[in-house]
């Protein structure tokens, strides 16, 4: 088990270096997670209502993710009203995969650590 733990910690550290640390903030992770679920795109107003944060905060985070090319925005019309819809890009999908893999590994390391503590 200890060997496994050592390996996992090493992989965890290696994976951490591959993750773009600029995406690791609660809001950005949430935006990416939401967009990876709503594959057909999510309206700005829906995101705002769900996250319950200010326009300023939401716009700046969306802009940053767009600059990083993890998300893209399209302007569309619904009932003659202009709407902004956000979608996850392929690069964004890859980043979400990296983050989830990293989180799962972090959870496994913690669980092995817990078991070690209980055993000793």
């Amino acid at each position: 088990m200890l060997v496994q733990l050592e390996d996992d910690i090493q992989t965890l550290l290696e994976l951490s270096r591959r993750i773009n640390s600029k995406t690791i903030s609660l809001i950005r992770c949430l935006i990416l997670a939401l967009l990876s679920h709503f594959v057909g795109g999510l309206q700005y107003r829906e995101m705002k209502a769900a996250l319950k944060i200010s326009d300023g905060k939401l716009v700046s985070n969306l802009d940053r993710l767009e600059e990083m090319r993890y998300i893209r925005k399209i302007e569309t019309k619904l009932e003659r009203r202009k709407l902004t819809v956000y979608l996850l890009t392929d690069e964004g999908k890859k980043e979400v995969d990296k983050i989830t893999k990293w989180m799962k590994l972090a959870q496994r390391v913690a669980e092995i650590g817990d078991k070690e503590c209980q055993a000793s």
């Binding site: 594959v39 107003r45 829906e46 399209i74």
Partner: protein
């Protein structure tokens, strides 16, 4: 056995819609129609969630993204049943597909009512405003009526009721 998507395509075809899966507005309407048809009793079988962009089915999204041409050309082998037709006629009579926001709100209220039929108008209004704060009060109130209209099932004169009415009729003035 017809797939879930085939049933949705058959519904869209019956309603005379011409979807374009590449367009967000079109995908939006497809989601709401599929949900309403299913909620009203058409056996489609998609799972719909309500939060954030609901009623929304990720499975339906994946299905139409996998076969966009099929949806756009309304290609289906599913033959609608009489009951399906009745449900779709009801949706057509009650909803204007041009009014996307009204459809969004109506389907949300239908979702809430299917989940809990005992919700009062006030509770429904509050729940909807909380989830979809960007929709106007006017849309919420109009949708409430539409949702109830959609879910309304006429109760017929049962034998018990008929007998009771006859007894009342026999009472001399």
């Amino acid at each position: 056995m017809p797939s879930k998507l085939e049933k949705v395509i058959a519904a869209l075809k019956y309603l005379g819609l011409r979807p374009d899966i590449n367009q967000y507005a079109s995908r939006f309407i497809v989601q709401k129609i599929a949900f309403l048809a299913q909620a009203l009793g058409m056996e489609i079988g998609y799972y719909f969630s309500i939060y954030v962009a609901g009623p929304y089915s990720r499975e339906l999204t994946c299905d139409y993204y996998n076969e966009p041409e099929r949806v756009n050309s309304l290609e289906t082998n599913y033959v609608l049943t009489e009951e399906d037709n009745r449900i779709l006629d009801k949706i057509r009579a009650c909803c204007s597909f041009e009014e996307a926001f009204l459809m969004e709100c109506t389907s949300t209220i239908v979702y809430f009512l299917k989940e809990n039929p005992n919700l009062t108008d006030g509770e429904l209004f509050e729940k909807t405003r909380l989830l979809k704060s960007y929709l106007s009060e006017y849309i919420c109130i109009t949708s409430l009526t539409k949702a109830k209209e959609l879910l309304f099932e006429p109760t017929y004169l049962t034998e018990d009721l008929r007998r009771e009415l006859e007894q009342w009729d026999e009472i001399d003035d």
